[in-house]
Amino acid sequence: MELYSLTIHEAQEQLRQGVTTSVELTESVLERIDAVEDKVGAYISLQPEIALRMAEMADERRAVGEDRPLLGIPLGIKDTIITHGVPTTAASKILEGFTPPFDATAIDRLRQDGAVFIGKTNCDEFAMGSSTEYSAFHPTRNPRNLNCVPGGSSGGSAAAVGADEAFGTLGSDTGGSVRLPASFCGVVGLKPTYGRVSRYGLIAFGSSLDQIGPITKDVEDAAILLNAIAGHDPRDSTSVNAPVPNYVDDMKQGDGLKGVKVGIPQEYFTDGMEPGVAQTVRTAIDHLASLGAELVEVSLPNTQYGIPAYYIVATAEASANLSRYDGVRFGLRHDGGDMWNTYNETREAGFGPEVKRRIMLGTYALSAGYYDAYYLQAQKVRTLLRRDFEQAFEKVDVMVSPVAPMVAFEINAKVDDPLQMYLTDVLTVSLNLAGVCGISLPCGFSEGMPVGLQIIGPALGESTILRTAYQYEQTTDWHRQKAVL
């Protein structure tokens, strides 16, 4: 077996035993990238020299007795996450050439843990999209079927993991952007509770929704990465000041799923769903029951308002968050002669159509006379959705559903139909609006493409969803069925 195909915990074990080195792991991944990246297009930029230097340093640290779970493990980082000294573009032309002078908190923590950074992964521009087709640079292809999208917006992060071009990656999830591509590519993606991982250094899309999350080959790897990046950060006032458990230890607790109450939200199994997806997820739920879980029908009655509320809140926040790209201090600048023309021409040239569409939507939603009808109303919906989840979690420990009503679709199938694209998020956005956590893990195939099982937990319920996911994974082998490239 090639080194690049190992999971993080397997590679970790080999490093500990001295069977391999971080340099060897890194070289193996770089060779794999050489072999398949042309087909997949998972990365926006690669930093092989930096990676090898980091690997050497990790090996030196290990040589003097240091042993941390991520020491020497090569990772890919979504390009919406700020990396010191490495170009960070959020897949937008407007940030082309921007090299940040600081690190995101999550990156800082991974650096301290000795992780190795391979490159910056592709995504939809400013994380706005569900297919990674809205990257200003190039699309990413699904390693399971190169004619299909990898999902989005963290499509590069999921494809890189699916294609063994990284041992794990960081993505970011505003309305499903970690879970959807994980589901489409047949890998594991975790969206932590809002505030669990610092947003400092995550290029903002919808500030009240954004979370950084790991995308990995299996559940244990997700727990390892979450252990590293979770925790309070004084630089992010919205980060939660609560102790971080050891998710790997927590995940392995319990006897199967005995005593775990698994809720099935009826609104998450709708008529519009692809029958193969529904069938696969139903089978997975039965499997959970066979592990001892108690299945409970629950209701999240305001689910239907999730998508409209999400597209108002996210775009409203985005419209302000993206105002800083004005050509004055960094990134692209088109000199238009005077101030207003410079603004207009810079933003005209720098932003892609989907980003412009969302800026306009958000600006409209916040405008005088419309604020109450849109933004304020959406915030009220948010309160209702949060209450839905709270009430459901009074009855159950976790909830399960598909991640999306469909499997990965073909490239170009929805790119000109924004509304259809928005509906791919129908089963994921409510978690962001309510601030709760969720994980996507492979649970089978429909029409030859992977189907993701979404396990939803309450705020700070990461241990519970990881445990449920881990028990499922330990008794199935979907996660071992790799893409063939």
Partner: protein, 482 residues
């Protein structure tokens, strides 16, 4: 006046915290090379997040309490969206619907008569300052050193009716922020910036006219002058049958006129919404109470104490209270004099507002640099009340004390200014004065009482001012009787 002015003011006060409002950069930016006092956060780089400066919140609460406002324990920061090169994020973090301070007032006394007028404060909220633009030829240079410095915006109701009242209001605000120590209040350095909203009422209906905003007011004088100018300009327009447009005018300090800056669109274009990067600020009421308990004595309370407890006139009290450092110096001297009956607060006030003020202004010294200790002033006054030295000698001593910081007793001794309060020493001199001035003595004996002053003056001259004038008179009278 035919048209009654209706004026409201918005004053921005730069808080002198150590660091900026939302990042760790220094809040001190004056005279620093452009764009060197910056970090990723105040440059608005992607991925950066604001963190609230607790001290700025504390300063705002202090000011709000001093303005008699209600402090809102639950308050919210909001984004005010607009594009301008001095605004790095494309939005200013400010407060909109739930500001820190609401519904206060300030009592002003424009003519120092004691007849105060109440100016209601609608709100006071915290926000971040912008950078600075310098226009050179066809270009604008951006300096973001100031971007993110905490700014307190204080908004009044339209309770101000004249340029003098506006002047008194901003003076009072400056006095307050200086008393609180939350800002330098230096208008010339931009630490206090005023905007005036002015309209004239229709004399027949009493309705308010169209509101005009005046900006670019960089001094107290410009506040007064611009309002006077604008009242005159609008009056002329109205009297000529014209109408006032809703505009923003800028004050041209050189030409002493207001000039049209832009046509106003109202604040509806800012698309305010709650700042998602900052959870609502949920203040502990105990913290607010603690801040309240630690507030320094404010000017109005001081004035009242001086007039009621110390029996100073209102004018005297106001002169002392005007500058916090002066009032504190005065308080220290008064405290030092405690238990010494003869050294009254009134006497101390006379010395401070008289001799000390004269010396300060003559030498261009700030009160903070004064070498003289409160105890030395008390000692000096004691020397006068005990008749050890007379008033004119005391002034001389005070001058030396001010210059050298030495004790008055030592100076009196060195200069030999000790008053002659021994009658025996004066008898001989009195006899000589009587012998040398036969004519005035004759006049006195014929009943011209006032001549005694001339004779006392001769004794003072002969003793080079050291004689106790009262004693000298007594000795003279006794000698003349014999």
């Amino acid at each position: 006046m035919k048209y009654q002015p209706v004026i409201g003011m918005e004053v921005h006060v730069e808080l002198n915290t150590t660091s900026k409002m939302f990042c760790g950069c220094s809040a001190e930016f004056f005279g620093i090379a452009p764009n060197t006092n910056v970090c990723p956060t105040c440059l608005g780089m992607p991925g950066t997040l604001p963190v609230i400066n607790k001290r700025a919140v504390e300063y705002t609460i202090m000011t709000g309490l001093a303005l008699n406002c209600t402090i809102q324990p639950q308050n919210v920061f909001a984004r005010k969206n607009y594009f301008y090169p001095d605004l790095p994020k494309g939005y200013q973090i400010s407060q909109y619907e739930l500001p820190l301070c609401l519904d206060g007032y300030v009592d002003i006394d424009p003519d120092s008569s004691g007849n105060t007028k109440r100016i209601r404060v609608r709100r006071a909220h915290l926000e971040e300052d912008t950078g600075k633009l310098t226009h050179v030829n066809n270009h604008s240079l951006v300096d973001l050193n100031r971007a993110g410095v905490p700014l307190l915006e204080i908004v009044t109701e339209a309770d101000i009716s004249s340029a003098d009242e506006a002047y008194a209001y901003v003076s009072k605000l400056r006095q307050l922020v200086r008393y609180l120590g939350v800002s330098t209040g230096d208008m010339e350095k931009g630490a206090m910036r005023c905007e005036v909203n002015l309209s004239l009422t229709d004399p027949e209906t009493g309705e308010w006219g169209t509101k005009v905003e005046i900006k670019n007011l960089n001094s107290f004088r410009s506040v007064r002058n611009s309002i006077e100018y604008e009242i005159e300009r609008q009056t002329k327009v109205l009297e000529a049958g014209g109408k006032i447009d809703q505009v923003t005018m800028g004050w041209d300090e050189g030409r002493q006129v207001t000039v049209l800056q832009r046509v106003k669109e109202g604040d509806t274009g800012y698309r305010y919404f709650p700042e998602p990067d900052l959870p609502p600020l949920d203040l502990d009421p105990a913290w607010i109470e603690a801040i309240k308990a630690n507030l320094p004595e404010l000017p109005d309370a001081k004035t009242t104490r001086y007039t009621q407890d110390f029996e100073l006139t209102l004018k005297e009290a106001q002169v002392l209270v005007e500058d916090k450092a002066v009032a504190e110096f005065y308080d220290r001297v008064v405290a030092e004099a405690k238990g010494t009956k003869a050294v009254t607060p009134k006497l101390i006030s006379n010395w401070i507002t008289g001799e000390l003020f004269r010396l300060l202004s003559e030498t261009g010294t700030d009160i903070s640099e004064v070498k003289t200790q409160p105890k030395q002033i008390v000692d000096l006054i004691k020397l006068v009340t005990a008749n050890t030295i007379n008033q004119s000698a005391a002034k001389k001593v005070f001058g030396v004390m001010f210059e050298t910081g030495r004790d008055p007793q030592a100076i009196v001794k060195e200069l030999g200014l000790q008053q002659i309060s021994d009658a025996d020493q004066l008898i001989e001199i009195a006899q000589k004065v009587i012998a040398d001035n036969p004519d005035p003595v004759e006049q006195f004996k014929n009943g011209k009482e006032t001549v005694i002053n001339f004779l006392v003056g001769q004794i003072m001259r002969a003793t080079r001012g050291k004689a106790n004038p009262k004693l000298a008179e007594q000795v003279l009278r006794d000698t003349l009787k014999n």
